[in-house]
Amino acid sequence: MSEKPLISARNLSVGFKIGSGFFNKSTLKAVDNVSLDIVKGSFFGLVGESGSGKTTLGRAFLKAVPITGGHATYQDDEVSYDLGTLTGPALKDFRTRAQLIFQDPYAALSPRMTVRDIIAEPLEVMGLTKTREETDARVREIAAKCRLNLEHLRRFPHAFSGGQRQRISIARALVSRPNFIVADESVAALDVSIQADVLNLLKEIQREMGLTFLFISHDLSVVAHTCDHLAVMYLGRLVETAPTRTLFKAPRHPYTKALFSAIPSLDPDDRRGGQKLIGEIPSPTNQPPGCKFHTRCPMVIDRCRVEEPSLENPGDGHSVSCHRWRELLTMPAE
């Protein structure tokens, strides 16, 4: 892919100060030294367990959390912003260009506002429309795209099912005509039968409006079907990134391999052992030295315990952060 990145991060870190008092202040590094490019028009997937920092990274790209190290830039055809220093009118303008879709459609919509008001709110807050007629026209246009009808606009959120509510949240995110959307676990709260419907809608809208998506999810089978590019995170680091098919066909990082083999198979006779991970993700306040994954890695050697690997790009667009990935390529499959 030779296209220009819309979002680009270089050694990006996000830390939070935790603890109070003089002696027990410390910093929790939720995102640590992450570099990645999200190409314009792509559906970029970010996966990892809870506590891996995927949500924080997504928010950093929206400038919803302070960036404490490195750089993140946003660049479309009209403007170019350094997210670390963005303030004032430029920040306001950026807000119209980047939007977020939340996980829980039951919590994300105010129960006291009609669907029309919910979708219109960003337009009013951002001052994008001058008259009520104009606002209404924009709301109707986007509602139709999200398969909501005029009748729906007069109702309150409680009258809708989970799938319909998520379509309302999507309409609200799209109404300011953004270029970049962060969808944080946007189908995790939905039933499977509805999930497919929302995913199809997101893909359709992305193609039609030429949007760039950062799709955050813990569900590998969902990202496999929707994203064209994937990044895997572990404890604030990027451990592997590649085009989706490449990653699924030949994962290079032992963590990615373990994640794949943990997906419950639909075949009842495939109750395989696979490579099960033992233990849990360490606490971000008490990170292990060396490679962050070494405490759970089945391939650990002494070097991993002391030296942290960096993200290596062998030139084929498939980057991995592991000391032993080349060796693992030649190892027989389990």
Partner: protein, 332 residues
């Protein structure tokens, strides 16, 4: 095999301001010792309400029809759970012979009481052992479910444990009274896939070791495929298909089961389009007449679906489906 629990014609309605709402409609199933039955369905299908009925745990406004029976077979004899009234009588169904683990382990532990005293408390209620012995058994159980340093964990609070650890502690607590039936209500839904795999393995080991029956409630067909021996698929309070897990997943008969399977993203074919089940599950206030699924059914065959409740048709000796496509003489 001997039946552990026999649910017959369970019909449960909730009395509300808007009238009686049917949550479970004429559901029957049995579970044997050493068997895992998966109960699958979307939110609102009545799977949790069914599970709670087994412990007579539903809210006071629940109304059971007189035909409803939940026969629990224990060594001491058979009791109908729905006939139990006093707290003392109910002990057998609530932690005695039946235990339950819930989806959200944080919400299931009291936040201000240590894990240990909660475990000891229930052992004291359900057995005649003394406190010291109860503590010993609790620590043993914590160790058994793979919690490291169990005597330290015994004195900790739920918030000090990670999600996976909490779910293990929950399982330890549920199993310490040696129940013959374990109800697991979405026990892995809140967990990461890697931890989910660990918990599933643990539960499989425990079924074998304790030789108990399990009702495994989930909306995830992958988890069902990996754990269950038999599956019941629920939709709007009815079991619409029931059979051995291989049969139901490989040769699903009901259009709803087929739809659920088709809606799942498959990892072995990334090009396959995702096909949602059209429409939404209707509100229980507007239960459709006839077959409850007819409003979303892609194989709708006409008036019979709208007006007549489909009877259970047997595909073979162990596999049943409630759909007019398979009932005799229904095809017009």
């Amino acid at each position: 095999m001997t039946a552990l629990i026999d649910v017959q014609n369970l019909t449960l309605k909730f009395r509300t301001d808007e009238g009686l709402i049917t949550a479970v409609d004429d559901v029957s199933f049995t579970i044997d010792r050493g068997e895992v039955m998966g109960l699958v369905g979307e939110s609102g299908s009545g799977k949790s309400v069914t599970a709670k009925a087994l412990m007579h745990l539903n809210a006071k406004n629940a109304v059971y029809t007189p035909e409803s029976k939940i026969l629990l077979h224990t060594e001491a004899g058979t009791v109908d759970v729905l006939k139990l009234r006093t707290a003392k009588e109910l002990k057998i169904a609530r932690g005695g012979a039946i235990s339950m683990i819930f989806q959200e382990p944080m919400a299931s532990f009291a936040p201000a009481i240590t894990i240990g005293s909660q475990m000891v408390e229930q052992l004291l209620i359900h057995s005649d052992m003394n406190k010291a012995r109860a503590k010993e058994i609790s620590i043993e159980m914590l160790d058994r479910v793979g919690i490291s340093d169990p005597s330290k964990r015994f004195d900790q609070y739920a918030f000090e444990l990670s999600g996976g650890m909490r779910q293990r502690a929950m399982i330890a607590m549920a199993l310490s009274t040696k129940p013959s039936l374990l109800i697991a209500d979405e026990p892995t839904t809140a967990l990461d896939v890697t931890i989910q795999a660990q918990v599933i393995d643990l539960m499989k080991d425990l079924v074998a070791e304790f030789h108990m029956g399990i009702i495994f409630i989930t909306h995830d067909l992958g988890v069902i495929a990996q754990t269950a021996d038999r599956v019941s698929v629920m939709y709007l309070g009815k079991i619409i298909e029931q059979g051995p897990v291989r049969e139901v997943i490989r040769h699903a008969k009901h259009p709803y089961t087929q739809g659920l399977l088709a809606a799942l993203p498959k990892l072995d074919d990334l090009d396959a389009p995702l096909t949602p089940v059209a429409g939404d599950i209707p509100s229980p206030l507007e239960r459709p007449p006839g077959c409850v699924f007819h409003t979303r059914c892609p194989d709708f065959i006409g008036d019979v679906c709208k007006t007549k409740l489909p009877a259970n048709a047997s595909v073979d000796a162990t596999h049943n489906v409630a759909c007019h496509l398979y009932s005799e003489g229904a095809k017009a």
